[in-house]
């Protein structure tokens, strides 16, 4: 690992953040019958499943979980090589008139969420859309704000935030790389 | 007329001499530095008899946008040629005394090389009725070579009659050997590559079958046959067999068939589209060997100029043919002389003596001896030149050698005692 990298959240911190987000979602939803969690690939999907597990532990109800790939809706497609698509899976019953919680690992410029809102718009018409992120690192470029945040991490633009989750990376942790400005 | 001295030149690459030229003939082979007259420096250069091309398309009359007699003979002179045979597939076709005399006169006016018109075998190259071969032979152009080149005289009876008829005036039929039915819509050599590229094949057998028939016909009627642009190993075998049987057959090979292979077609760049098509590497090897052992008598360019738009298109729509006059010597040097397959004297045979004999051109193809007509190509064997299309004298640019570095350079050309090219430029 980069010698300048330092861990800001370990697996216990992440577990606590997920449980707290689950509590807040349940509270806002006042029961979770119309709730759907849609993770944004890759790590957002793993986090969505964990939040659903936490909700189940709290409420004893199953929250449908899906994934929403936003690649085809990105506004920076021409700035990078064409990339492989990730799966989009919408739970049976669709998103119409449901409360959809988008789940992503890091909220940064807000462009990914803008793309996700566009993608969701083509899938159906939810009654409400909320946003849950594990880390909010600031530097928004669009008028987007999260409804549920695991941790606010003030960062400089020269730093990188790396989220690792066990399902994808083999371990849970959040690290910051690079020099603060 | 003052005399000219080629100072210190090496005839056939042998010991240096001063070649002294007066009144259009070689008058002396003097010790270096002793020849008297106007000096052309040629130290370390090789002197060869001026090249004679049996197969040139000058395009005039009819396609003056591609080439004219003037531009084509400029290209010829720069290539070391002192005589070219202008093919008959012009518009109108050179199938009457009138057309061949016109071409011959244009050559006289240009004054750079001897232009020997080739007469069509059949009217309009249609392959149905004989053209007036005798009238062309007895015209001012003194036609001796007859060919429907571009098309094959495929009717066996017509071919037999033509072979017989031209005996009366020492003519020869130069056959473009291509069985038409086997080559309908043909685009490239038929082989594994044509199958893969999805281009209709031009099978070797379409050439070989016609050559086999024609050598047997020539033997049967006791006539002289010349085979144009031999392109396959099988054709070489047939000709070798015929010569061994005593058939009066001669054959030519183009420079491009000595150096290029069908692999180039993979680019689908029509600059490589030519008829007969580029063949396999094995064919190229067989052609070089046949030229070396004399089975193939001559190098002939099949210089075929085409305007840019006829090549700057998709493969099937493109015209067939490539330039050859200005690069023929370099290709011969690269493929035959440098590898040691031909000596300088052998090369003189293949590019001058034999073609002149086949075309019955009495003033060409002389050995470099006192009394010979002074037709000379003076070449620098040590030079290496990168082919640059825009630097060519031909009106067209369809050379397949763009960017290729080739050995040898024609420095001076002397036609009937008059320099036509000096230091690589038109005199």
């Amino acid at each position: 690992m980069d010698s300048r990298a330092h861990v800001v959240l370990d697996d216990a911190d992440i577990g606590r953040a997920i449980r707290r987000i689950a509590h807040e979602i349940v509270e806002r939803a006042r029961g979770s019958e119309s709730l759907i969690l849609l993770g944004i690939p890759t790590r957002g999907v793993a986090l969505a499943h964990r939040i659903a597990d936490a909700v189940a532990a709290i409420e004893g109800t199953e929250v449908p979980v899906g994934s929403l790939d936003i690649t085809l809706y990105r506004d920076d497609l021409r700035m990078r090589p064409a990339r492989a698509l990730e799966p989009t899976t919408i739970p049976a019953g669709g998103v119409d008139d449901k409360v959809v919680v988008l789940v992503d690992d890091v909220l940064f410029s807000g462009r990914t969420i803008r793309a996700a809102l566009d993608a969701l718009n083509d899938v159906g018409r939810p009654s409400a859309v909320q946003l849950a992120v594990l880390v909010d690192r600031g530097h928004r470029q669009l008028p987007i704000r999260p409804d549920y945040v695991g941790k606010n991490l003030p960062t400089s633009l020269t730093e990188q935030v790396r989220v690792e989750v066990a399902e994808v990376d083999g371990a849970d942790q959040v690290t910051i790389l690079g020099e603060p400005q | 007329m003052t005399s000219l001295v080629l100072r210190g030149v090496r005839p056939y690459g042998e010991d240096p001499v001063d070649i002294v030229i007066a009144d259009g003939v070689i008058v002396d082979l003097a010790a270096p530095g002793t020849g008297d007259g106007e000096v052309i420096h040629a130290e370390d250069l090789v002197a060869l008899p001026g090249f004679v091309d049996l197969h040139t398309h000058l395009r005039e009359p009819g396609r003056e946008d591609a080439e004219t007699v003037l531009t084509g003979t400029r290209a010829a002179a720069l290539g070391g040629f002192t005589c070219v045979h202008a093919m008959a597939n012009t518009n109108p076709v050179a199938d009457t005394a009138g057309v061949v005399e016109q071409v011959w006169r244009l050559g006289q006016v240009a004054g750079l090389v001897d232009v020997r018109p080739v007469g069509a075998v059949t009217l309009g190259l249609e392959g149905e009725r004989l053209a007036e071969l005798g009238a062309m032979a007895h015209s001012a152009a003194e036609v001796r070579v007859f060919s429907d080149d571009g098309k094959c005289v495929h009717d066996a009876v017509l071919m037999r009659r033509a072979l017989e008829y031209v005996k009366a005036f020492g003519g020869v039929v130069a056959q473009h050997a291509q069985e038409p039915r086997l080559t309908e819509g043909a685009q490239m050599n038929e082989g594994e590559l044509s199958g893969r590229l999805g281009l209709a094949g031009w099978p070797a057998v379409a050439e070989e079958a016609i050559i086999a028939r024609d050598v047997l016909l020539a033997q049967h009627v006791g006539s002289r046959l010349h085979v144009c642009h031999v392109s396959t190993a099988g054709s070489v075998e047939v000709i070798r067999w015929a010569k061994a049987r005593g058939v009066d057959v001669t054959a030519e090979v183009t420079p491009h068939h000595l150096i290029l292979t069908e692999d180039l077609v993979q680019s689908y760049d029509p600059i490589y589209k030519v008829n007969p098509p580029l063949r396999s590497a094995a064919d190229v090897e067989a052609l070089r060997a046949a030229l070396a052992d004399g089975t193939i008598d001559a190098i002939a360019t099949d210089h075929a100029p085409h305007p840019h738009e006829d090549k700057d298109c998709e493969w099937a729509a493109a015209a067939m043919g490539m330039l050859g006059l200005e690069t023929a010597f370099a290709v011969a040097m690269s493929t035959m002389v440098e590898p040691g397959l031909l000596s300088w004297r052998d090369l003189a045979q293949r590019m001058s003596v034999q073609p002149a004999r086949i075309g019955r051109v009495s003033t060409q193809g002389h050995d470099l001896v006192v009394g010979a007509v002074a037709n000379l190509a003076v070449v620098d064997p040590d030079a290496r030149v990168v082919v640059e299309p825009s630097g060519l004298a031909s009106k067209s640019r369809n050379t397949p050698y763009r960017g290729m570095e080739l050995p040898g350079r024609v420095v001076h050309t002397i036609h009937a005692g008059t320099p036509t090219v000096l230091d690589g430029a038109l005199a």
Binding site: L77, A82 | S194, E309, D312, W315
Partner: protein
Amino acid sequence: MKHLLSAADLSRDEAVLVLDTAAELAAVTDRSVKKLPTLRGRTVVNLFFEDSTRTRISFEVAAKRLSADVINFAAKGSSVSKGESLKDTALTLEAMGADAVVIRHGSSGAPHRLATAGWIGGSVVNAGDGTHEHPTQALLDAFTLRRHLREGSGDLDGLRVAIVGDILHSRVARSNVLLMRTLGAEVTLIAPPTLMPYGVESWPCSVSYDIDTVLPDVDAVMMLRVQAERMHAAYFPSTLEYSRLYGLDVARMSRLPDHAIVMHPGPMNRGMEISADVADSPRAVMVEQVANGVSVRMAVLYLLLGGMKEDI
């Protein structure tokens, strides 16, 4: 990748990427909103020098589902039929700002010329050239095979496919032999020897003149269109003899293993290479091939145009 000219341009990973992408894009077809904004502002020109309504429409639907602007340029009735050259047509399209040109041309290699002659700067997709190649057809065939026989993922390793018919004149066969090989399938070409390309024995596939011995061992059979006019050029004596020896009828279809599927790139000559009851049987997947064609062409357009222009 900048162009798709030949199935041979694709490595195994690239081919699988196209198929995986197509699989994701196929899901869009099932939604009520069938459009994606991905290629908004990009221009795709369908340049068709041969009539092929089905291929042109397939590319048109694919481009439109990705929000590209589509210009259909058919040779008939245009300046092309008045003798305008491919080059001048290309220069015109370049001036109009075409990001991709989808070209169907009767001359083998025309897409290569378009891509390499320096006439245009955009991507070139070969939608069928002469008797050379038709790579997107091979991709949709591979996609269809994978759906039915490999559960929709990975490559086609070990799959056995027979291609039957006019191999000599078939761009579909050429592209399929190349792509199937890349994806690990084993191809057997079946045709009378007159309809085999010269040098076919050096192709990466098997060759047979007898359909009946091959069918029991294949997972899929692909029937190619055979034009009845070919008999006038002595490729076969009569349509009757052709269909008797090489056509797929119900009796012959019964020789196939139970899981095997029947494919045809269309348009079919019912009664010639395929009998009507085979064409309409549940084992025939022709309608699905058409649907898959749109997904595969969306994937190709996305992968060629979805990224940076410089990325090759």
